[in-house]
């Protein structure tokens, strides 16, 4: 028996070179002695090789013979045009820019892509980088967005159908926004909460919807990630006193137009949307003793009650 990589290379070469699709019997004959003689073992070895080649991206075409003595047999070949990478004519500076981009993201599939394009990451050490999560579902979603095809996926134990309009990476997570069939309105979903991995995403027919012309995933995104799937009520504003230690940073975070009062001790009073109680509370408590809610009174009371429960160590005692 030959080394497996040798057999794989020979199989690949044979299917690329052949001018007509070949049956397994013909393949085994050409690769003399490399596949087992027994039918069952030969089929098993070949299937293993075929899926190994497909896994690395080799497009193996199958055809069922229509007539003649071999009718019903499956035959195989590789279309060289489908196998070979198109030449992109990248100039050296374009190639280098892509190399730096992939080095900055440090993505393994991206590195494979650069190699295929004839580049290399070499010693690229850009002074700036970003860690971008890779999710197996993303290529299928992106393909569906491009093809205007609906997708189906499991999400929190429920099967959803969505016309995907676009993907957004924000705050370290990937989101897809589109028209939710069952809800009849726009919804945003977190891709890492999809159930079933890449195989869990089903894709419908291409050209099955039109995307709103002005769609931009950034503006379509719910104001607060915890609100995904809900509608925000931004109508309530709270007044929060921020002490001198955090005043500069908070003013920068919110913008100067949110500052309603500046004090000699360096503290400021800011007006903050509090329509989403959970999000507001989480933000203000994250500032610990650097922030105190001044109004509205019921919000102030709610925080006092909340903090008192924490001091008491009595979970479940706060009204919502």
């Amino acid at each position: 028996m030959v080394d497996r990589i040798e057999r794989l290379t020979n199989l690949l070469a044979l299917l690329l070179e052949t001018t007509r699709p070949l049956s397994l019997v013909e393949i085994a004959g050409d690769l003399d002695g490399q596949y087992p003689d027994a039918d069952k073992a030969r089929r098993a070895s070949f299937e293993r090789d075929k899926s190994a080649l497909r896994d690395i991206g080799v497009p193996i075409e199958t055809e069922i013979v229509g007539g003649g003595p071999f009718a019903g047999q499956t035959t195989y070949r590789i279309d060289r045009r489908a196998y070979e990478l198109a030449d992109l004519d990248l100039t050296p500076d374009e190639m280098r820019a892509l190399q730096v981009a992939v080095a900055a993201v440090r993505s393994d599939p991206g590195k494979e892509a650069i190699w295929k394009l004839g580049g290399a990451l070499g010693d690229e050490r850009p002074p700036v980088s970003a860690m971008i999560p890779e999710r197996p579902e993303l290529p299928a979603i992106r393909a569906a967005v491009a093809a205007r095809a609906s997708i189906e996926f499991g999400y929190r134990g429920e099967q959803r159908t969505l016309d995907p309009w676009g993907l957004l990476l924000r705050g370290g997570f990937w989101y897809v926004t589109g028209h939710d069939h069952a809800r009849g309105e726009r919804r945003t979903f977190r891709v890492d909460r999809f159930e079933g991995g890449a195989d869990g995403v089903g894709t419908g027919d291409p050209g099955s919807f039109e995307r709103p012309p002005s769609f931009d995933p950034r503006t379509a995104f719910p104001a607060d990630p915890k609100q995904i799937g809900y509608v925000a009520d931004e109508s309530i504003d709270a007044l929060v006193r921020i002490d001198a230690l955090r005043a500069v940073a908070i003013e920068r975070e919110l913008g100067a137009d949110r500052v309603v009062e500046r004090n000699d001790d360096g503290s400021i009073l800011v007006s903050v949307p509090a329509g989403n109680l959970a999000a507001f509370r989480s933000w203000v408590l994250g500032l610990l003793d650097h922030a105190v809610v001044e109004s509205p009174p019921e919000l102030r009371e709610h925080l006092i009650e909340w903090l008192t429960a924490v001091v008491d160590g009595a979970p479940g005692s706060v009204r919502r």
Binding site: G57, L98, P127, S129, R142, V145
Partner: protein, 326 residues
């Protein structure tokens, strides 16, 4: 590559290495190994193996390549002259890498990166990521990378690229104070929604990581040092020495499981979950428990929750005395 290499990985690497070798004709073995992240002996043995491949009537001459005296030579190219097209994950990763790089400090959208990105249209279509019309790659609404770069990220990146020392004022949440310190930025990076700078810090005389949004001001000190190419440091929570805590969270607080690194999760009744997670400091844990309030219960470490005392201090700000502790 590390660890044992299976046949698929070796073949995949060969299928990118061979077209490149055929293009260049010959190359030092050491260069080939470095370029494709293999050892020299791995390159040599894989090339020797593939040189023996062949089909009648071209036995042994299908791939005409040999290694002599540390140099790889390629004869007449017959097969594998072009690389295999990109897989969908490779094409997607290339696209998002380019889009991400556009969001990094110093990006030049109209420059080489923008032009290179525009040329990817054909490979995206071939990988099944775009319609065959091709124009999709410029359809920026399909994939948007939003890194929300804070004010000082550009200055810090610039300082890292030029070896410029900066004086910063930095808010340290662990001690709740603002310190002034001189740093030499080495690497600026974004990770899970936050920006960090890894820098040589004069105060601790060591390399430290700072959150960019906690830097309140920067000024150049006028001193410059040698530029040092470096990558982002490992994440603190991967460190086994970091303390762990176990908390139970209610259905409303399950976002914690997504937001923070978690070692393990056990599902409980009524949608509650028990999670074990790394804790960077007592104060961080206390803050998390205060934010979660009744939606979380600290299981481990047992004893008094570090949150109670800090919650009392926050409560003091409201001019209310909490209940008397016994």
């Amino acid at each position: 590559m590390s660890g044992p290499r299976n046949a698929e990985d070796r073949l995949r690497r060969l299928l990118v290495m061979l077209p490149w070798l055929m293009e260049v004709g010959e190359a030092p073995l050491a260069d080939v190994a470095r370029r494709f992240e293999m050892t020299e002996s791995q390159v040599q043995s894989d090339l020797e193996l593939v040189a023996m491949c062949g089909l009648p009537p071209f036995v042994d001459e299908m791939v005409d390549v040999f290694v002599d005296d540390g140099i790889v030579f390629v004869g007449i190219p017959r097969l594998f002259t072009r690389p295999l097209r990109l897989t969908a994950p490779e094409a997607f990763s290339l696209l998002t890498s380019a889009r991400t790089a556009m969001e990094l400090p110093g990006a030049d959208a109209a420059g080489a990166l923008g032009r290179g990105l525009a040329k990817l249209a054909a490979v995206l279509a071939d990988a099944g990521l775009a319609t065959t019309g091709g124009g999709e790659v410029d359809d920026t609404a399909s994939v948007v990378v939003d890194l929300a770069r804070p004010e000082f990220a550009d200055d810090l990146a610039e300082a890292a690229a030029s070896g410029t020392e900066l004086e910063i004022s930095y808010y340290s949440p662990a001690r709740a104070e603002i310190t002034r310190r001189s740093i030499v930025p080495r690497h600026v990076y974004a990770d899970v929604g936050n920006w960090y700078v890894s820098a040589d810090d004069d105060r601790s005389q060591s390399r430290r990581t700072f959150r960019v949004d906690r830097i309140e001001s920067i000024t150049a000190t006028g001193r410059t040092v040698d530029v040092e190419a470096t990558t982002s440091p490992g994440r603190f929570f991967e460190d086994v020495d970091v303390d762990r805590a176990t908390i139970r969270v209610s259905p409303d607080a399950r976002w914690v499981l997504d937001q923070y690194p978690i070692d393990s999760v056990v599902e409980l009744a009524d949608g509650w979950a028990e999670a074990r997670l790394p804790v960077s400091s007592d104060r961080w844990m206390a803050k998390l428990l205060i934010r979660l309030g009744p939606d979380a219960v600290l299981i481990e470490p047992a004893g008094e929750s570090p949150a109670a005392a800090i919650a009392q201090r926050v409560l003091d700000g409201y001019g209310r005395a909490g209940p008397q502790r016994t």
